[in-house]
């Protein structure tokens, strides 16, 4: 199915997606949009794992299972993060990182 697409194309996409995620994480102020940037970063890592598995070690399925487990961890992480964000919203009436500075020394 992959035809003549080189492995590098997948790596270029995942690199760009990773750094777009980092940019979002650095510039966003809202906690939920920062969480979305983290999802982008995790997703780019998944593409890397799957592409390496398919091109370099097709006789194994290690990258496949690594990705499967990363997806499960991302789901767990998102659930806990959103619980914490909702709790922060209850206490501060805002989820912008600039307003949540109670622990700041």
């Amino acid at each position: 199915m992959t035809g003549t697409i080189p492995l590098q194309s997948f790596l270029v996409i995942s690199t760009l997606m990773f750094f777009i995620g980092i940019y979002g994480f650095l510039t966003r102020k809202n906690l939920i949009t920062m969480l979305m940037s983290i999802e982008l970063i995790l997703n780019s890592v998944n593409i890397n794992f799957v592409a390496f598995n398919k091109y370099l070690y097709p006789q194994n399925l290690q990258g496949h299972f690594f990705t499967l487990i990363i997806i499960a961890i991302a789901a767990a992480e998102a659930a806990v993060a959103i619980a914490i964000i909702i709790n922060i919203y209850r206490n501060f009436r805002s989820i912008d990182v600039d307003n949540v500075d109670e622990l700041k020394f």
């Binding site: 270029v12 650095l26 102020k29 949009t33 592409a51 299972f65 789901a75 619980a83 914490i84």
Partner: protein
């Protein structure tokens, strides 16, 4: 030839919607753009013939996490509320750092000579995946599977405990 066109279409979609996800002023729209990125990624998994993985990506990521994010957006902010963005100086510096990192990584990727393996690909049907997840020999993943199930249970209970309202604690404070 046909799959090439499809791949570059998906790649363009992923990049455009990734940029929109991190730059959109409206949070709900950003969540929907994230959904498009995740669905395009699932399509790439389908192209690589990891169909089970693509199905999991669609159900867990696109079906689960994005819905969770949209619900939390609706719970915590007004629907037409616009996100506060970083000031120009911070955006410029972040863009500079990100571009430097991306260029360095891309140069390294292009320099490295990857040697694609000629071995026959192992199939990844649901039967293969299921057998690998419960077997404990060399190609088995029984231990990670059990660990991830405990992690999911812990995250489930933790999320409920963190997010519920604590009425009893407030009562105690008043009594004291």
């Amino acid at each position: 030839m046909n799959s090439d066109v499809m791949f570059y279409l998906l790649a363009g979609m992923i990049l455009v919607f990734s940029v929109l996800t991190v730059t959109s002023r409206k949070i709900l729209r950003a969540a929907v753009y994230l959904l498009f990125v995740l669905v395009s990624t699932a399509a790439i998994y389908f192209m690589l013939e990891y169909t089970f993985l693509a199905a999991v990506q669609l159900t867990v990521y696109a079906g689960g996490i994005v819905v969770l994010i949209i619900f939390s957006v609706l719970l915590t902010s007004h629907i037409s509320e616009k996100a506060i963005m970083a000031d120009t100086k911070q955006s410029l510096l972040s863009a500079l750092a990100v571009c430097a990192g991306a260029i360095l990584t891309l140069i390294t990727i292009m320099k490295f000579a990857f040697v694609p393996s000629a071995e026959p690909a192992k199939t990844s049907t649901v039967t293969d995946v299921g057998n690998a997840l419960i077997s404990y020999d060399r190609d088995g993943f029984a231990l990670p599977f059990e660990v991830i199930s405990i992690l999911l249970l812990a995250a489930l209970i933790g999320a409920i405990i963190v997010a519920r309202k604590e009425k009893d604690v407030d009562k105690n404070v008043i009594i004291k």
